[in-house]
């Protein structure tokens, strides 16, 4: 018994402490070192943060270089797929573009109205500036759905900066280095986004499901019936984590549970936009401007709004003129069509008339064969001369009347 315990202890000691000629550190040292690092990474000392930031920079760049061949293969595959479905996508894009163009103008009007209302209810506005960032590492993990972008604190990126794919929300920055940042995607299990779901304006929180979609959680039971299939979810701005009014995705209720299908495909992100926000106090700004009177500043703002409205109105006008022009052309084409149709009707009615006459003549000839003996004038019999209207009348009447 004692010897087996000794063997166990020897084996353990050997496993932990024995170093072969090639090993520089024993396993026990490395275990302690890793535990020490785990503890250190839990503290927010500046030196640890700096070291972590340097390691991150090196590893992200190396990871980007190591992933080049794989990315090249994937991109080539997608290029081939894209080329094969090029024409179809061109057609659908063309249609979509036409629709979007018409929507663009109404959107501009809404934006202008929105800005005006914001100025009325608040003394500051956000002047947002979107910068383009490249996704350098898109490493899906079992634990975190994150991407690494090539913009960091040197580009004014901060923790919490909103990240977009076109105008759709993708996630927010959770870790910032000097020249790179980590973005937590909306599909991550740890991501919580306060949203409004329209129609119905239902307030809810979307939590990532760790795959490619989100789940609606934290909603009052009686309001869940108000949510319809294909409703649009956009950020509500509650909690100031995300700006309000950013589209996120569509509600899918096909499997009797509410899932959010995000507008953006997180697996295909190559470039994203990071929104750097700067708060501008409009009133403070106006008070700083001592050279001009405060009234003139208000006038200027009003003038700006009016100019903006004028611009939008002129654009709307030009759009209406275009529509008008196209409608006129359509009317002309319709008129031409009507004239052609009238002509056609006339020729057809003539033809019908001719046909009726032919039919009458045919009837007369048929009756003539039968009743000519009754109507024809001869030496012994009264009648009518052949070819006269009376003769014709007699034939059609099928013989002479007694009065004749």
């Amino acid at each position: 018994m004692a010897s087996s315990r000794d063997d166990f202890v020897i084996a353990i000691r050997s496993a932990f402490l024995k170093k072969t000629t090639k090993q520089k550190f024993s396993l026990l040292t490395l275990i302690f070192l890793s535990i020490f690092i785990i503890f250190l990474s839990n503290f927010n000392f500046k030196i640890i943060k700096d070291i972590k930031s340097i390691i991150n920079e090196i590893v992200f760049r190396t990871s980007f270089i190591v992933s080049i061949p794989e990315n090249l293969l994937i991109n080539s595959y997608y290029s081939v797929i894209e080329y094969s479905s090029f024409y179809k996508s061109y057609q659908s894009n063309k249609e979509e573009l036409e629709n979007l163009k018409s929507k663009e103008i109404s959107n501009e009007i809404i934006i202008s109205e929105n800005n005006e209302l914001k100025k009325l209810i608040d003394d500051y506005k956000f002047s947002s500036n979107k910068i383009l960032a490249k996704v350098i590492v898109d490493h899906d993990s079992l634990f975190l759905k994150t991407i690494i972008i090539n913009k960091g604190s040197s580009d004014n990126i901060k923790i919490g900066t909103n990240i977009y794919d076109k105008s759709y929300l993708v996630g927010r920055v959770i870790d910032v280095n000097y020249k790179s940042s980590r973005v937590l995607l909306l599909s991550d299990l740890n991501s919580n986004v306060p949203v409004s779901i329209t129609p119905g304006n239902v307030q809810a929180i979307i939590v990532g499901d760790g795959k490619d979609s989100g789940e609606i959680r934290y909603i009052k039971d009686n309001l869940i019936e108000d949510i319809q299939d294909q409703s649009i979810a956009y950020t509500s701005g509650t909690g100031s984590l995300y700006k309000s009014g950013i589209p996120i995705g569509l509600v899918d209720n096909s499997n009797n549970n509410f899932v959010i299908n995000f507008f953006s495909d997180f697996g295909q992100l190559k470039y994203v936009f990071a929104e750097i926000e700067q708060k501008e106090k409009s009133i403070a700004k106006s008070s700083e401007n001592t050279t001009a009177p405060s009234g003139s500043n208000t006038e200027k703002i009003k003038l700006d709004i009016l100019n903006e409205e004028l611009k939008i109105l002129s654009e709307t006008n030009s759009k209406f003129l275009e529509e008008n022009q196209s409608l006129k052309t359509k009317i002309n084409q319709s008129d031409e069509k009507i004239i052609n149709l009238e002509k056609k009707i006339e020729t057809q009615s003539k033809e019908i008339e001719k046909n009726i006459i032919d039919q009458n003549e045919l009837d007369f000839l048929r009756l003539n064969l039968i009743y000519s003996s009754k109507c024809q004038k001869s030496g012994f019999k009264k009648g009518f001369k052949v070819g006269t209207p009376e003769y014709r009348e007699c034939i059609l009447r099928k013989g002479r009347k007694i009065s004749d």
């Binding site: 050997s14 275990i31 299990l189």
Partner: protein
């Protein structure tokens, strides 16, 4: 058959292949640990580390394994040191098995590997959930554990060929 000269560059590269593969697998965006396929993923580094630690391969430096773990944490976004700890614990258990085994057997190693990865994944889950408040899906761990266990035999068979080629 092509044979490499022992002092040639390609031979050296070939002997360092396990470590290179380990670093590429932790740095590459393509992660076998997360394939974006429902109910399928496996931890390739665990298999690689366990196998070479068990065979006491002289080019498989524990310090490099430790650094690979740090790289993995940085890329994946885990708290620094978690993967290093996991990798070193795998090495330790493999080293213990090597010391107590007189006649190695693949099936015994296989079941011992199942015990090791289950233990390490449990420790990982507990640390991340309790100390770092990560919201984790336990099913991922169960599936990952199962497939890592199942893939051990085919990968170990392939690696046997590799070691055989080195020794020849």
């Amino acid at each position: 058959m092509i044979k490499l000269q022992k002092n040639s560059f390609f031979y050296k590269l070939y002997t360092w292949l396990p470590i290179i593969v380990l670093f590429v697998s932790v740095l590459n965006e393509f992660d076998l640990n997360y394939l974006n396929i429902d109910y399928f993923s496996f931890n390739f580094p665990f298999i690689l580390i366990f196998y070479f630690a068990l065979k006491e391969y002289n080019k498989f430096d524990y310090l490099l394994v430790f650094i690979a773990g740090l790289f993995n944490d940085t890329v994946v976004g885990l708290p620094l040191g978690i993967s290093s700890f996991s990798y070193i614990v795998v090495c330790t258990f493999a080293s213990y098995l090597r010391n107590i085994t007189i006649r190695p057997h693949l099936i015994k190693d296989w079941f011992y590997f199942l015990f090791v990865i289950s233990l390490i994944n449990s420790i990982n889950y507990i640390i991340l959930f309790l100390f770092f408040s990560y919201d984790l899906d336990i099913m991922y761990y169960v599936i990952n554990n199962l497939f890592t266990f199942l893939f051990y035999i085919p990968i170990a068979t392939l690696l046997n060929y590799y070691l055989k080629a080195i020794n020849d």
